[in-house]
Symmetry: C2
């Protein structure tokens, strides 16, 4: 022992990087190993207290997710087609938002801004100030989109008169909903509510929606599973890169649109609007994933995550075995690339239901197939590859419908297992847009983020009591 | 020495694999090293006999290629818009074909079949037999598409009344031409000439062509360089995978098509035809590459290949310094995947002007960006990556307009240097369709092929005398 300390030391530091940093600060030639101990009991949990085989339950969840066949079957107005969305009494006005439940007082800037815009859009307020008063008055009911089988990117606001896509999982009959995508920049879902935002939403309701609805009636249901599968072979990951998906959607719908509509100017305007927004398909990939994940909910003993969603204040997950229960933690900030004139100081924490893509095995989980996305969200193609590879460590299966050519057509990692997250300390990686933290300002960037471990720790505590 | 042969031998075989195979056949534990000696004098050739710096000349060629901005500027009928294609006298009927020059007697089955179909299409013959007699009579003039700044995939037939795309290199003013793509299977360019082939060609001339031409007049020129650049980030290599390019073309043209045409049924039929053929964009990527390569022709002392083209009998190249001269070698067979009911025994040797894509730095040279293509042409995604990496060894530069995200946005290898081919023994890698060797039967598969070294050896001999 005395001999040892008489020689030059070369310590190997396991885990906490601060120890390593103290050593190197003193000129010691140390090596850092990125390691976290598995938390006590996490590795051993194979059965619930009432004897359910967790691995078998999780395999069933993955089987159900992969077997889903989401089809775009139609469109409608939220209050008319989303079950439970219609007012049960005169006084009730429901506005759905992204992420777990949250009261007006705790809502972040972009969610508040988008709600203010929605109240103006609905004709319930004339000015932002009036909208703020109404929102804070208690007269408006707020609830997560997910409570209505709906999903909304970023602020994710759905108000009663907004048009929505209707997606049906043909394998199980589950239905899911999402609004039409507005584009990037100053748009409602990023918290903007100015006159140009409201004008665009009105045009989308009065021109875009009836055109797409009628075209869909001519074309018949559109196979979103096939479209996502193809888009993943065309450089999309179907969360922040939807250029191929948007292209395939235009190809599928354009002939029917031409046949369905009398007015060529309207058809051309609709085609130009979709062509002008490479993110249009996001609002189809999201409800497609929701429709595929719904059958995996409520499986006894199943530790697979069925929802990941953020409201810009809280990050929340739901786990199959615990059904509707939310497990939350504070939403983290996003590392990203900034639009001109903005920086990290402007950024709201992570927000949106779009993490449903990662929950279903695409988005950040399929980054390896979308190397070009790093120009939008930052990082390098090697980071994109590593992100996908890491997700195989916390998922229960590989997708049978979605694959990555560059990984020799390996199925994407699917079915986040709460146990594996806690065992490895690896949380899901997402890529996402970034909203300004103040209401009314819109998009400031896009980037990469890791889910906070707190949601998974809380869910795991629930697993122990199953 | 006697000691050596008294021990167990473990030979290392350099080069010719047959020696290695003989050893292993006798149970010897040998190692094969894939190696070819550099040919005498190839490595040293830095200047022409009259003192031109070959590297500088080649760099200028690459600069000119990369600076090209090919735009789709319009459409027209071959005899009316391709300079030199119009009959100078009553008697002259010109039919252009792919690859280097060839007489009817030496033409392969698919080229003969496509010419027979073209003569029927032109109303010059009523039956295949009549067409054969006419083609063999000497009354028809045959010439390479490349002699008219045109390019044609597979048999590559352009007859006088066929509609063609007109592509202009906005940097230099060079024009290039190609017909509209018919789709796969039993189509003229694969040597089929049955009534359904002629019917489709007539529809393409009478309905598709006027619709696209009118739409282009409304939309204005379409930037093919930008479209190819985007498609390369969407899993296309723009030779045998054109799914993204075709999608982007539909997106760009659909609104103008709707505005330009009165009849919705025609617009829908045109959109459905293009949507039904993921290879439609090939006949735009090819003339785009031709238009980018034309300014690189005729640079003194330049050993960059400006044309690679095959007529199904001969494989031919042209080199910048030697201008219009063809260097040829027998066309090899293609290794590929076969359509149901066909095998290698049905295959014609390598055919088509589509190697213009590889000549310009895309196609097989960009395979690393198109891993999904291996489902169509065979091999693995790793092979696709290696194909691109290998091409950097024989090219003079990296493209400044076309890049591969998976290689960290490295420019595609561009500008095949005849000297480097001879020094390394590596010839250009292409991927291509495969035609039935008999006239009239059409497509039998798709696959990968390496250019024959003979063309490059002949060109190198010419370099020595420059």
């Amino acid at each position: 022992m005395i001999d040892l300390f008489g020689q030059p030391l070369r310590p190997i530091n396991l885990g906490l990087e601060s120890f390593y940093e103290s050593l190197t600060a003193q000129g010691v030639d140390a090596i850092a190993v990125d390691w976290r101990p598995p938390l006590d009991g996490y590795a051993e949990l194979t059965h619930t207290r009432d004897g359910v085989d967790i691995d078998a339950a999780n395999a069933e969840a993955v089987r159900r997710i992969c077997a889903g066949r989401p089809m775009l079957v139609g469109m409608g107005i939220a209050r008319e087609v989303i079950p439970g969305f219609a007012p049960r009494g005169q006084a009730r006005i429901l506005i759905a938002h992204s992420g777990p439940p949250i009261a007006w007082e705790r809502m972040c800037g972009p969610t508040r801004g988008a709600i203010m815009g929605a109240l103006i859009y609905e004709g319930l307020a004339e000015t932002p100030e009036e909208a703020t008063r109404l929102a804070a008055s208690g007269a408006i009911e707020f609830a997560p989109c997910h409570h209505y089988a709906a999903v909304g990117p970023m602020a994710g606001i759905i108000s009663p008169s907004m048009p929505v896509f209707i997606v049906r999982n043909e394998t199980t009959g589950h239905l899911a909903y999402a609004t039409q995508n507005e584009g990037l920049g100053k748009v409602l879902r990023y918290g903007a509510y100015g006159p140009e935002v409201i004008r665009r939403l009105k045009w989308m309701a009065q021109t875009l929606y009836p055109a797409l609805k009628t075209a869909l009636e001519v074309s018949g249901p559109i196979d979103l599973r096939s479209m996502i599968s193809q888009a993943l072979h065309m450089g999309d990951e179907c969360h922040n890169r939807n250029k191929a998906g948007t292209s395939l959607f235009i190809r599928a719908l354009a002939p029917a649109l031409v046949e369905a509509m009398r007015d060529p100017a309207t058809v051309a305007a609709v085609l130009r609007f979709i062509d002008g927004n490479d993110h249009f398909f996001l609002n189809l990939s999201m409800p497609a994933m929701k429709a595929m994940l719904l059958p995996a909910e409520n499986i006894p003993g199943c530790t697979i995550v069925t929802v990941m969603a953020r409201n810009g204040t809280d990050w929340g997950i739901r786990m199959s075995a615990t059904g509707d229960r939310w497990f939350t933690a504070p939403a983290p900030l996003v590392q990203g690339l900034w639009l001109p004139g903005f920086s990290g100081a402007d950024a709201n924490p992570d927000i949106g239901d779009s993490a449903i893509t990662e929950t279903g095995g695409i988005g950040g989980f399929a980054l390896a197939g979308a190397p070009a996305i790093v120009k939008f969200v930052g990082g390098t193609p090697a980071d994109a590859l590593n992100a996908t590879m890491e997700m195989y460590e916390i998922t229960a299966g590989e997708h049978t419908a979605f694959s990555i050519p560059a990984l020799n057509f390996r199925g994407t990692p699917v079915g986040v297992d709460v146990r594996k997250v806690m065992r490895t300390g690896i949380t899901p990686r997402l890529n996402t847009g970034i909203a300004h933290r103040e209401p009314g300002l819109g998009m400031v960037g896009a980037g990469l983020v890791q889910a906070p471990v707190g949601c998974f720790a809380a869910a795991f505590e629930a697993v122990r009591t199953l």
